[in-house]
Every structure is written in structure tokens, then in C-alpha cells.
């Protein structure tokens, strides 16, 4: 049942002199997937995309597209198209000329009539009919983004590469375009590989997310896998937010382990099974939204002092401190939960409860 992956990286690496942008990396992308490369700037995600597009030559390893080795092929001989971060529209051509550009190549042998109909089709698909004769300089950011999309999809590539396609747009527009991207992916049925540093975007759009860090893949998984079962503190913190605390294993009891954190507080976790038996120092991860106010006599509680409270509309974000813990702990309370506590003013002491099933435990000596 396993088909050939549409894109495959085999031990692909990229170095610039002494700097390693990408350590030897393996990656398979299946036909029709929406895969996102996610990470902060400098993590190697753009390099990876450019290696697939052919704009960078791999220092080592092979790049395969549809099973074919394209490592040595220039961009214009790869069955992929790219939506560039700044769109890279040709300023001296009209919208229609920009879109038709990739169809005019001799080797394509596309009759003029068909070219025109394909341009119109692409324009309609991105909702840009009527702007065909404008120059890119006369378009808004969102319109340029759509032209860049149309220009790339008009060539009917097997794989569409998107390099931070929405980062140049303002927040409102970005959310609308996310929906558009999702729709296009569904309608076109081709593979999308997108680079972004925005985890919300990645979570909303992707079938699978490749989290990258310092030139390596940190974890690959579906959005919910990554969110629920991050493999490392780094992923835990990058996908959603996580309060990361140092802790020591003080006992094991079946599938539960007891952990001591700063100030002597004991926290139980039911997710420590993957931790080596002899591990002593570990890192605890607690999602802010899993820390809920509770009565003081309940098990698995933390006593925290409010340092600052921030109004977030439907939720309240609290910055909290605890004795013996040198960093702030954050929590986000629904407005309804706030009503249950006496005060959220700075200085108030509150008791929080966390379910042992929600306490993540990672091997490791020290907080990242």
C-alpha cells in the first residue's frame, strides 16, 4: 500500500562554509499532503524548501521528486512551483502576463487559446478576475499574493512550494487567506509544502507539521499529535505554549511518577512512561490552559502568587510566581473560571490543580 513519496529528502544537508544550515535530513511527503515546515528563523526550514525547489544545491544527499533524483536539476527542470515570500511578481508585466509567463515556455507547447483559458481559470480560482491588465505595483498586498498563487498553480505542478506565503499580510487578511489556501489545496488536490514561523497557521492548515530547530527536524506529526504529545520541550513550547519546569523523579507507582519541583511541591504525572528508569532530573511541561483554579485540599496542586493579569477578552492571562521557581508560570483562565476565585489582583495567592494526565515529562537535565 505504500506508494512512492512525491517528495523525498535522503540525508540531504546544506553547508555554507563552516555554517551548517541543514544537517543530514530525511523527509518524505506523500501525494496530496499539506506539509508545513515550522520553526523560528534560522532553523533551516527555508533552506529545506529551497533545496526542494532547486534554488540551493545540496551539499550532500539526494532530493527526489516523484521518485526521480532531481538533486542536480535546476529549478526550471523540476515539476514544482513556488509562491515566494515577497511574491516576486514581475514588475514590468501585467497580472495576466505574470500568470501566463510560465506557460509561454516553448517546451510546454501549449496553444495560445489554451494558455488564455488556463490564465482565466487560474485568475478565477484565486478570485482575481477583472484585474488582468493591472501592473503588480497597482495591486494591494492581498491581491499580489493571489497573483503569486495563480502564477504558480497555472502550471499545474505536482508540488506547490509556499515560502511564508502569508507573512507579508496583515492579521485580518492573513486569516482570510488561510481559508483560501485550505480551499485551494482541497480543490487542486496537489501537494503543498509550506514554510512558516507561525504555529497557528501551521496548526490550522497542515496535515503534517515538520518542526525544525537549529538545522534539524525536531518532530514530525499531525497538528494534534504535536500538540498532545510533543517529543521534546522545544516542540512543546513551540507548538502552543508550555510552562517548562525543572524537576526530580522521587518515586514511581505503576504508570504514575512523582516529581518534585522548586519549593518542594510534589506533582504527579501519568505521562512519564517513556522516561528511562534511572532518570533523576527531568523537565515538566504544563499547558497554561490545563492549570485550573481549585480548592486547596485537592491532590496535584500548586500554590501560586499573581504577578500580573492581562485581559484577553474571553480569557484572562495570568503571570504567576511560586516560591523556589525562578521563572514565571502562565495560565489562561476562561472568564467563567475567574468568577470562582476570590481575586486575581497582583499579590493574590491562588491554588491551581493539574490532572496527572496533563503533566508532560521530558528527559533532560535543564530547561531549554
Amino acid at each position: 500500500m505504500t506508494s512512492t513519496p512525491i517528495v523525498a529528502l535522503e540525508r540531504v544537508a546544506k553547508t555554507y562554509g563552516v555554517f551548517t544550515a541543514l544537517h543530514p535530513t530525511d523527509l518524505q511527503v506523500e501525494e496530496g499532503e499539506f506539509v508545513t515546515l515550522l520553526g523560528p528563523s534560522g532553523c533551516g526550514k527555508t533552506t529545506t524548501l529551497r533545496l526542494i525547489g532547486g534554488f540551493e544545491a545540496a551539499s550532500a544527499g539526494r532530493v527526489r521528486i516523484e521518485g526521480e533524483d532531481v538533486t542536480e536539476r535546476p529549478p526550471y527542470r523540476r515539476p514544482v512551483n513556488t509562491v515566494f515570500q515577497d511574491y516576486a511578481l514581475f514588475p514590468h508585466m501585467s497580472v495576466a502576463e505574470n500568470i501566463a509567463y510560465g506557460l509561454s515556455v516553448k517546451s510546454n507547447n501549449i496553444p495560445k487559446v489554451e494558455r488564455q483559458s488556463r490564465v482565466s481559470e487560474a485568475l478565477a480560482m484565486v478570485g482575481l478576475d477583472g484585474l488582468t491588465h493591472r501592473r503588480p505595483g497597482e495591486l494591494s498586498g492581498g491581491q499580489r499574493q493571489r497573483v503569486a498563487m495563480a502564477r504558480a498553480i497555472v502550471r499545474r505542478p505536482r508540488v506547490l512550494l509556499l515560502d511564508e506565503p502569508l507573512s507579508a499580510l496583515d492579521v485580518k487578511l492573513r486569516e482570510g487567506m488561510q481559508v483560501e489556501l485550505k480551499r485551494l489545496h482541497r480543490e487542486l488536490g496537489i501537494t503543498f509544502i509550506m514554510v512558516t514561523h507561525d504555529q497557528t497557521e501551521a496548526l490550522a492548515l497542515s496535515d503534517r507539521i515538520v518542526v525544525m530547530n537549529a538545522g534539524r527536524i525536531a518532530q514530525i506529526g499531525s497538528p494534534s499529535e504535536l500538540y498532545d504529545n510533543p517529543a521534546t520541550p522545544y516542540v512543546a513550547d513551540f507548538i502552543g505554549a508550555t510552562n517548562l519546569l525543572d524537576g526530580q523523579v522521587i518515586g514511581r507507582d505503576g504508570d504514575e511518577i512523582a516529581l518534585r519541583i522548586g519549593g518542594g511541591t510534589i506533582i504527579r504525572s501519568r505521562r512519564g512512561t517513556a522516561i528511562p528508569a534511572n532518570a533523576k532530573n527531568v523537565i515538566l511541561g504544563m499547558r497554561p490552559e490545563r492549570l485550573l483554579p481549585s480548592a486547596p485540599d485537592v491532590a496535584n496542586t500548586l500554590v501560586l502568587t499573581v504577578k500580573e493579569n492581562l485581559f484577553h477578552g474571553d480569557r484572562l492571562r495570568l503571570e504567576l510566581t511560586a516560591e523556589g521557581i525562578d521563572r514565571s508560570i502562565f495560565t489562561e483562565l476562561p472568564r467563567t473560571a475567574v468568577a470562582a476565585v476570590s481575586s486575581v489582583d497582583p499579590g493574590s495567592r491562588l491554588v491551581f490543580h493539574i490532572d496527572p494526565a496533563d503533566v508532560m515529562v521530558f528527559a533532560g537535565e535543564k530547561n531549554p
Binding site: 534554488f55 529549478p75 526550471y76 511578481l89 514588475p91 510560465g102 515556455v105 502564477r151
Partner: protein, 289 residues
Amino acid sequence: MTLTRRTFPGFAALFSMPFAWVLLLLVVPYGIMISVGFWTRQFPLFYPDFQFGNYAQIFSDPQYTTVILRTLKIAALVTLGALALGFPLAYFLVFTVRSAALRNLLYMSVVVPLWVSYLLRAYTWKIILGTDGALNSLLVSTGIVSAPLDIFLYNQTAMVITLVYIFVPFMVMPLFTVLDNIPRRLIEASEDLGVGPFMTFWKVIVPLSLGGVIAGSTMTFCLAFGDFVAPVLVGGPDGTMVANLLQTQFGAALNWPLGSALATLVLVIVLVLLQISSRLDTAGRVELT
């Protein structure tokens, strides 16, 4: 109002010098030149007048039109030559040379000759192209020819070669700037869309460098059009250009009125060229985003 009055002394101090410079060294001389063009000459003197005899002479006597057409031809050839050399050079500097330090060094080596005396540089070509010159020595010593050729020097070809060499920096400088300003992403986008380097060059790089081509060509053309040294140093008996004609009218022929009329005509030709160039530039201008 108050503000205007308060800043006037500063304004005057700042702009009076440039204004005086423009007035005294540009506007007044041009005014004099244009009016002398209507004077009459009674050899060896000339008298203020207002008549069109000088212009009539310029347009009726074929020697003047011959020289003007020849000058236009030479200037056009120099422009084409400088473009043919300058474009690949600028392209090479911008797109092929990876190291910024090496690129700057090479760019400087193109521009630095401008600091060397014009006469010296033109004179060098005389030494290279002469019958006993470097080029002939090479050809004879390599056995390509048995005796030195005299076809290299003292003709229009030598003038074009010399002028191309002298003015090529004026072509390279604007070309380098426009090429350097073309976002690399556009070239990547073109290649991404399946277009190879050759067609990318014609469909993206050339259209986007037109501003530099126009600027460089205009500068080179105008400089070559007004040149008078190359004809004297490396030109032959058929090398007289408009500037030499002007030199003669103000010099040996002692006919300032005719010379002024001719100079006015040259000014008009140059202004028309600049106008055309500016039109082309506006038409071809694109916003690089």
C-alpha cells in the same frame, strides 16, 4: 509668512552660490552663444545683427550636414560598442562574481581609469594601434601577418574603439546599478516557472535593466557626440566631428557667428536626444517591489 521671512537669509546663503553659478556659467553663456549665432561676419571681424544667414549656410552647405551625420553615426557606434561591452561586464559583476570584495575591486577597476587623464588614455590607443604599435608587433611576432598593417589607426574605426574604451565606464556605472537592484527573487521566480537562464535574461533582466541602458546610452552618446580629441589623436582625414568643426569656426576660420549657430544646433540636437531618452525612460520605468 513669519517663517518664510526668518528663513530667507539662510535660504539665500545656501542657494545664492549655486544660483549664481548656474546663471553666470550656464544661462548667460548660452544666451550669448545663441545670440552670436545671429550675428554677421565681415572677415576678420563680426558684428551684432539678427539674421538667419548662418543657419542658412549650415543647412545649404553639405559639409556641415556631412559632419553632423558622421558625428551621429560615430556616437551611435560608440554607444552600441559600449553597450555590447558594458552590459556583459556589468552582468558579470553583478550576477557571476559571488564575492562582494572581488566585485567591488573589479567595479573600481572599471571606474578608476576615469581618474586618468583623458588625453593620456586616448594617446595610449595611438601607441597600441599604430603601424609600429603593440597590436602590430603582436600580429607580426605571432606570424598572423607578415608586415605591420596600417588599418588600425587614423580612421573612424580607431575613433570608435578609443571612444568606446574611454566612455565605457559611463555605460557600466548605471547598468551595474540597475542590475544590482533587480531582486534575485525575480530570477528565481522565472526559473521556478520553467524558464531557463537564457530566456530569463531576455524576459526579465533585460526589460528591468532598460532604465540603465537608456541612462548609459544617453550619457555615452552625448559624450561621444561632443568629443573632439579622438578625431585629432586617432582619427584620419575623414574623422572630423562636430566638435572639431566648432573648434575650427571659433579658431582658424574665425567665424564665431557661424560657430555659434552650429553650437546652437548641436545644443538642440542634444536636447532632443535627452528628451527622447527621458520619454523612453518614463515609458519603461517600473516599480521594483
